[in-house]
């Protein structure tokens, strides 16, 4: 089922959680809503589920207006951040709940429910834990039970609120890969909320980056990562260095570097900021065109990378991530004079500040 969100706004008191948000989720896709806390992503998810009502705007399921449809009639599966498992029911009863509350006419028979629950338990690989209570499960197991419970009613849409947020790092990575594979199997339209860029990049078909109640950019993971549309997206996805300068008719002047910036062709000597990812800077021993003189301030090995803190003559800091062998080749020491060459820079006019 496809979801259309049309011009949805929502305020809580004086706080504007969503302002005029429109979004299309095509049928069968796995979409990530990515943003910092307070960006409105959870509100949007809860509005899709019907757990909250928008102040204005419409929600359409498969092109049919569903804005005022009741939660219980929406056929959405919702996985809550803290799972919201029924603590007084066993794993089996939790998963069966949605089937047992159906009106008498639609309710499957006892055996049918049993079979269905067991096939779901198999899907989440927890067959032997059917009689446990939620309190006796680990976080990752609870998470999977919550998912199975949501899937039991064969929802048209699966909504997940920070599905991996409460898990430790290792389980988190395992589970998100599992979710990706699961989605490839069942192809139910899914939307999940996360503040973890890595998670979104790895799991989602499409990423919707949100900030302050608005959508900053949407696209495939590589589109969003490689071609951030706004300074916010640049900053939110990955480490970034800022260079201050000016831009005039498609040419930017950034602290001694001149580069072309065709998307700012209409700018007229405007203040601008250049964004460079920390792994898009090369460090060189010799001076050359387009490289900035800098001093090594600090070196730190982080696994396969070496993080180099540089400072420009004007005191501005630059962070560079180098592959370890490259760093070894350069033989950097604190206090060395080097030259930093941005390989890829994106220039934005205006005074967006981090």
């Amino acid at each position: 089922m496809s979801i259309d969100i049309e011009a949805v706004s929502k305020t809580f008191g004086s706080f504007s959680a969503l302002s005029d948000v429109s979004l299309k989720v095509p049928s069968g896709e796995l979409v990530a809503l990515l943003g910092p806390s307070g960006s409105g992503k959870t509100s949007l998810l809860r509005i899709i589920a019907g757990l909250e009502t928008p102040d204005s705007g419409r929600i359409l399921f498969d092109g049919v207006e569903a804005t005022n449809r009741q939660v219980k009639d929406r056929q959405v599966g919702f996985v809550f951040q803290h799972y919201a498992l029924f603590r007084h029911m066993t794993v089996f009863d939790n998963i069966a709940f949605g089937l047992t509350v159906k009106p008498k006419k639609e309710r499957p028979g006892k055996q049918e429910i049993k079979d269905k629950v067991h096939s779901l338990l198999k899907l989440i690989q927890l067959e032997q834990l059917a009689d446990r209570y939620p309190g006796q499960l680990s976080g990752g197991q609870r998470q999977r039970v919550a998912l199975a419970r949501a899937l039991a009613v064969e929802p048209q849409v699966l909504l997940l609120d920070e599905p991996f947020g409460a898990l430790d790092a290792k389980v988190r990575v395992e589970l998100r890969r599992w979710l990706r594979r699961l989605h490839d199997e069942i192809h139910v339209t899914s939307v999940f909320v996360t503040h973890d860029q890595e998670e979104a990049l790895e799991v989602a078909d499409r990423i919707v980056v949100m900030n302050q109640g608005q959508i900053e950019q949407q696209g495939t993971p590589s589109e969003v990562y490689d071609r951030p549309a706004t300074p916010f997206v640049y900053d939110f996805l990955g480490n970034v260095n800022l260079f201050k300068g000016r831009v005039h008719e498609g040419t930017a002047q950034m602290g001694g570097i001149k580069l072309s910036s065709p998307e700012n062709a209409s700018a007229n000597d405007a203040p601008a900021v250049g964004y460079v990812r920390s792994h898009d800077i090369a460090i060189e021993r010799d001076s050359s065109e387009g490289a900035l003189k800098a001093e090594v301030r600090y070196l730190l090995s982080v696994g396969p990378l070496v993080r180099v803190d540089l400072s420009l003559p004007d005191g501005g800091p630059i962070e560079v991530d180098l592959p370890r062998d490259e760093a070894d080749k350069l033989g950097l020491k604190v206090g060395d004079q080097v030259f930093a060459r941005p390989r890829k820079m994106r220039v934005f006019v205006d005074d967006y500040q981090i």
Partner: protein, 293 residues
């Protein structure tokens, strides 16, 4: 009475930097125990000792007295009316207060607690002022030959007033602590409002309900001041158990008075036992939900 009590934790220490010297510990425990023995155990023992002062036969004889039996009947009737009324109110009120946000919520909670802070005598008096002969509705009631004050309805009304907050004030913090995610989950799975309440909310609060009901019942059966104002003390017809105790005591039939009183003391002990059990159960559900967070 506070739900905070339920959230018990570790904190059993033997020694180290955060404990006192042994003699201080023994001294404190001893003083505390002497105080409690003097003020709790001694009165409790005294009730039963005095009740059995003249032997088992006299004890049973005192309980079989027709006036006493009728007092027991009236007390049971009163509790049977008051507890369900306040139970229903408690559940409804805590649903509105704990699961929703609205302006004036804390003021509403204060109002619900109000009967606890009013003197029992005043609680009785207000009903005399409304339904008594000199009261607002007195003349009208007299014309229609309806008796409320110095009759059973007055006793019930006064008892409903003094036991009003018990269930609600137990359930509100409990339901607030449980949040509303489980209910939302039930709704997304297609459950109706009633299904959600009976299959998801109720199992989580049943011990809290028992806790509130048992305290409500204890007070309903044991209320003295408020009932004493509205009852009129008509033997065999408007006497509850506590009033019967008073009458017997004032007539110097001490053994009989304590025999009847021992029933109420037993009720108190049962109440404490059930309350402790319910507290333990609630503590379990809350710890489980804490682990889940």
């Amino acid at each position: 009475m506070q739900v905070g009590r339920v959230l018990k934790k570790h904190n059993q220490r033997g020694g180290g930097s955060t404990s006192e010297p042994a003699w201080v510990r023994y001294l404190l425990v001893t003083v505390a125990l002497i105080f409690l023995a003097l003020f709790l155990l001694l009165p409790l023992a005294a009730v039963f000792a005095q009740a059995l002062d003249k032997g088992w036969e006299a004890y049973l004889e005192a309980l079989k007295e027709p006036d006493t039996l009728s007092a027991i009947r009236l007390t049971l009737t009163t509790a049977a009316v008051c507890v369900p009324l306040n139970l229903f109110f408690g559940i409804v009120a805590s649903w509105a207060i704990a699961k929703f946000n609205f302006r004036g919520k804390s003021f509403l909670i204060t109002l619900i607690d109000l009967p606890f802070s009013v003197s029992p005598v005043v609680s009785g008096l207000i009903y005399v002022l409304i339904f008594g002969l000199q009261g607002w509705l007195g003349p009208w009631l007299q014309d229609h030959d309806i008796k409320i004050i110095f009759a059973v309805p007055g006793i019930i009304l006064a008892t409903v007033f003094v036991t009003f907050p018990f269930v609600a004030r137990e359930l509100i913090p409990l339901m607030e602590a449980q949040g509303r995610e489980e209910e939302e989950a039930a709704l997304t799975l297609g459950a109706s409002g009633l299904q959600t309440f009976f299959r998801v909310t109720f199992p989580n609060i049943k011990w809290g309900i028992l806790y509130g009901v048992i305290l409500c019942n204890a007070r309903a059966m044991g209320e003295f001041g408020a009932v004493s104002v509205v009852s009129g003390h008509v033997r065999g017809s408007t006497n509850t158990i506590p009033l019967q105790v008073e009458i017997l005591y004032n007539e110097y039939s001490y053994a009989a008075a304590f025999a009847v009183a021992s029933l109420l003391a037993l009720l108190a002990l049962v109440t404490l036992a059930v309350k402790t059990a319910a507290e333990w159960k609630m503590q379990q559900t809350v710890t489980v939900s804490e682990k889940e967070r």
